[in-house]
């Protein structure tokens, strides 16, 4: 079955790139902030992997991680942060909160894909 990738970013260009790169292998669902993404999930949608930005209006990436990892339904979904914020302290904070990985923008989509594949391999999916 086709996997679903949930892309969460307030920057339209990033969503377009993700859709372009992953669109062939995944069904890419695009949301512009954490609250929108959660609402979509609460409506009964379970993505196979989430790629999320840090700085977003309404709900930022960190709060989004906390919501996902607190939930028994969503806590095992691979979650990769994609952020222009290079601050190591923030990076550590996200990883401690339960992000599986943290990539810094500008990013190489191939690297993102490789990291996602590795997560799936470890999960035996």
């Amino acid at each position: 079955m086709e996997k679903t990738l949930l892309a969460v970013d307030d920057e339209q260009s990033i969503l377009m790139i993700l859709d372009f790169v992953f669109g062939k292998k995944y069904k890419v669902v695009q949301k512009t902030n954490g609250a929108e993404a959660l609402q979509w999930m609460h409506q009964g949608n379970l993505p196979d992997v989430i790629v999320a930005d840090m700085n977003m209006p309404e709900m930022n990436g960190f709060e989004f991680i906390l919501q996902i990892r607190s939930s028994g339904l969503y806590r095992d979904i691979p979650l990769i942060m994609l952020s222009g914020n290079e601050n190591t302290a923030d990076k550590i904070k996200c990883l401690n909160a339960g992000a599986d990985d943290y990539l810094i923008k500008p990013f190489n989509p191939e690297e993102l894909e490789a990291r996602i594949n590795n997560i799936f391999r470890r999960m035996n999916r």
């Binding site: 609250a35 959660l38 609402q39 609460h42 409506q43 009964g44 379970l46 906390l66 919501q67 990892r69 607190s70 939930s71 028994g72 339904l73």
Partner: protein, 382 residues
Amino acid sequence: MERRYRIAWVHAQKYPFPFPDEELEKRFELVPFDDMVSVIYSLQEEGIEPLDGLIFFGSEPPPPQIITKLAYLGVYPVIWKTGRITQLNREASHRVKIHELFDDSSSPEDVLRRITYLIEHPIKLNPQENAAEIRYRMPLIKRLFDIIVSSIALLLLSPVFLIVAIAIRMESKGKVFYYSWRIGTGFQAFKFYKFRSMYTGADSRLKDLKHMNQYTQKEEELQSDTNTLSEPTLGTNGMYYADGRMMTEEELRTFRKQKEGATFIKIKDDPRVTKVGRFIRNTSIDELPQLWNVLKGDMSIVGNRPLPLYEAEKITTDRFARRFLAPAGITGLWQVTKRGKGEMSEEERMMLDNDYARDYSFRRDLKLIFKTIPALLQKENV
């Protein structure tokens, strides 16, 4: 000051609240309930203060109809607390539209964070879609059949109604008809009509009579079991361990059932019954006013017996709850299968109800009606 959210904690009697936390209790007012139906009943019939959310404990989710009904009554989110989350739990949650799932590894902060978020960001449901799911749709042919048969029967039987009414009034004071609240299709409560067969005020004497209940196990059997056993605990390889004894899952079920007491109440030679009452019961004439319920659409001619509240609430939380997904009716599978032998266990009875719920059709209904006629001529005083 933020509002304190009212959260129903279902199965409060069996399990203490699993996330003891000061902060959590500051934010949430936990309202204890024994089961889901009590929640629905309290909101619907007793008009208690609205509930924000609900947490229930269990190894299996309730039928989706309950969740939809709760959503309809404004209870959101509905949360399942289980021992350990598996992929199966998640799939089941998804299927019945449970909004969140927690297990023993969830922390009180997780619970607080998620419930608060869910309450403050309710999902937008399509109200029409919602309403359609709540209302069980009876097939048109079944409903038509019910209307035609019940109105003809009521018309033809009107002389009988008149005679019985006079007889009841002549023997004892009180109303001719009697109703009790019953839970039917999709947990809808309705007034279930019968001819009065007991002296007035009989309901209050029910408690004194519990020891005469046919469905209660024999005293000695119960005694010997409870003496040697304390509550068993789950062990490895499918066996359950209690102090000094090992038992299989099957034995455990029997053990639990005995502890909880019989679900159905049926009494032989009940002294509360009047003489006319005994006659109309033996001939099942007392059930005739249910034709009115059929005409009104509360129930169907063939279906699962609508249960009184105290019975319904005991069988909602487990797999037997499926029976409520089928139409309620005057006669059904369990009535014709063994009626009159007086030995059917409640387990068997509920299995039959589930069986009907799983697979019913108009053809099957007709067959059941023809089988009911000889069953009506039964002799036993029940």
